[in-house]
Amino acid sequence: MKYIDEYRDPALARRLAHAITIATTRRWTIMEICGGQTHAIVRYGIDKLLPEGIELVHGPGCPVCVTPVEMIDRAVRISECPGVILCSFGDMLRVPGSSKDLFSARAAGADVRIVYSPLDALAIARSHPRNEVVFFGVGFETTAPTTAMAVYQAQQTGVKNFSMLISHVLVPPAMEAILSSPTNRVQGFLAAGHVCAVMGYQEYRPIAERYHVPIVVTGFEPVDILDGILRCVRQLEAGQIRVENAYARAVRTQGNETARKIIARVFHVVRRSWRGLGEIPESGLAFTPEYAEFDAGKRLGVGPIAVAENEVCIAGLVLQGARKPTECPAFGSECTPEFPLGAPMVSSEGACAAYYLYRRHTAADAKESTI
């Protein structure tokens, strides 16, 4: 298949891995931002092709993982309001809130539906004029444009029974939060190619300069990831730090200007709480006053809810790349995809789920497999 097979070519992958081995003279810690990349790394065993000196740590780029428990609880509460149809992406339905997840709310009678796009939720609103249709909008800069477009279209066409619970977040502030942490170990980043396809990569230049870290815009296939790692290692070894685009077939410097415009029209940047990372200034999106009427929380009177995170789960440290999933005492025992304590064990982009699915069932097994 075009654009797939050539990026999964085993011979090319081995050549790149060999080039990385030759280029590496010291130990380097590199973080891949995106959970999609984490899954590709663990699934294809890319980390096992790398020399001992290169450690990959997994970043916070999993939209489900960083959505605060409080937002899940609010979504559950909204879904329980009479006449509400709550729509979201499939992954969101299994994320545990403080007492239940959205699947459980559905089993108890709430009308909760999986959609592939916020525009599908808008279509449901049009065909169910007597219901309030709420889209639970999560994700990074990748999903924000479609969320924005759905709200824009709802306003343009006068759809009155459509609103949203918004938990959109932005990648660069999270990178800065990780880099400025006193325990930070990250020396280079693989930036998420699809985020850059939307936003471009200009905004990464100040971060690379300020923190002296190479940032390589990287794709999602094994060859893409190995190429991203190679470029990152070469920069680190040479001490020449910059932002580099290793995903030129999808990413332009300015990104997708139409998508950026619609985001800027509907949303403004606000302080946002991240699951596991806490509050980060200027790290999230909220409706501008012009679109404030689409805020489902306000419309249905479901305000902030105070909740506590699970004490055993180390999701926050995993999301910062400070710990590996298998270093969690609950991994594979108390916490499994069937009974998850934290979101990284649920999401198809969560690091804990990747280790559980593709490596071993218990922490001991997983360690054994990496020796």
Partner: protein, 348 residues
């Protein structure tokens, strides 16, 4: 005129264009539905006895018994429908035991309001599939539920099959060194259903692989292949079938990703939707675990038959604890594990 050549619903059923609760009430409408629609479609001497149960002659050897329920939505999808699926599924389950189906039962749960013509087309599809499998639908049952309490029609079929051999074809029979053979490309049924259900159109339309597997499965047995286990790939796909066999047998299975065919349309759809084709449902594929020495001959036998012409050896039973491992595209080995619940579309 045979029933399967009739295109429209037989009179007097046509006076009732939709199923009414009265069709399940046990009165004259129930009788009319059974006689004019089901008997007309399934016509055979055992059914014509109109008895409470079907009486079949005792086969010489052992018998196999299986049952399955079908709730697929939409009822008609590219490559099949709930009726053909309900016959294929049960006949295939018998074939996986090395048994030839000798009789099927069918239970219909009909939702009030179901179009009679839809039911007729489903019944005809069942008849055609049963004819192709050389089996008759010999007994059945009908219930009607109120509108909103079903999804058009649910079907349960059960089947009795005859074993003409003494082999124990089951997970516990697999041995270290056995070959794992897959009968063709994977993932088509799941993608066909998903695209029909969600109205997602792909450049290359994907048809379900729904098909009878009795011919290839029984050919292996009849030609003296040392068959240890067979399993058709349904929900959970290739991965779930192998994991179940490995778990039950308490043996390790290893496969090689590069040997597993996935057609372009399925690969494309799975890439877009974030699904793993090895976990996507099939309705016309099976794996056979055979003695290692017989592997090449088994593949040859399967390749001669159209439905299994894409057969190839994809792996082996290995020494070690119960676990399925796979050598991936770039040569690194990993585990195949069951998904929790269903595969969900990813966010970005």
């Amino acid at each position: 005129m045979s029933a399967t050549s009739r295109l429209t619903c037989p009179i007097p059923i046509a006076r009732y264009p939709r199923i009414l609760t009265a069709h399940g009430g046990g009165g004259s409408l129930t009788r009319s539905l059974i006689h004019d629609l089901f008997f007309a479609a399934f016509e055979n001497p055992v059914l014509a006895d109109e008895h409470d149960g079907a009486v079949l002659s005792q086969p010489a050897g052992r018998i196999a018994l299986t049952t399955d329920s079908y709730v697929v939505s939409p009822l008609f999808f590219p490559g099949g429908n709930i009726g053909s699926l309900a016959v294929h599924g049960t006949v295939n389950d018998l074939a996986m035991c090395g048994a030839r189906a000798v009789g099927l039962s069918v239970g219909f749960i009909l939702e009030e309001g179901l179009e009679m013509d839809v039911l007729w087309r489903i019944a005809l599809a069942m008849r055609r599939a049963a004819d192709a499998a050389g089996v008759q639908i010999v007994t059945g049952d009908t219930k009607v539920v109120e509108k909103g309490k079903g999804d058009g029609v649910f079907i349960n079929t059960a089947g009795v099959g005859e074993l003409k051999h003494q082999r124990v074809i089951a997970p516990r029979s697999i041995r270290e060194g056995d070959a794992v053979i897959l009968s063709g490309d994977v993932g088509r049924h799941g993608v066909a259903i998903l695209s029909a259900r969600e109205g997602i159109a792909f450049e290359t339309p994907v048809e379900s692989d729904s098909a009878l597997l009795c011919e290839p499965a029984l050919a292996l047995v009849d030609e003296g292949i040392d068959v240890h286990c067979m399993r058709d790939l349904t929900r959970g796909g290739l991965a779930a079938a192998l994991i179940e066999i490995s778990d039950t047998a308490r043996r390790a299975i290893h496969i090689d990703e590069a040997t597993i065919p996935v057609v372009e349309g399925v690969r494309g759809a799975c890439e877009v939707l974030g699904l793993d084709p090895f976990y996507v449902a099939n309705e016309g594929r099976f794996v056979a675990v055979v003695g290692g020495a017989n592997a090449d001959r088994a593949v040859e036998i399967l390749q001669r038959i159209e439905v299994s012409s894409g057969s190839r050896c994809i792996g082996q039973v290995r020494a070690g604890a119960a676990r399925v491992t796979m050598t991936g595209r770039i040569g690194v080995e990993r585990i195949l594990d069951l998904f929790s619940g269903e595969q969900l579309p990813r966010i970005c």
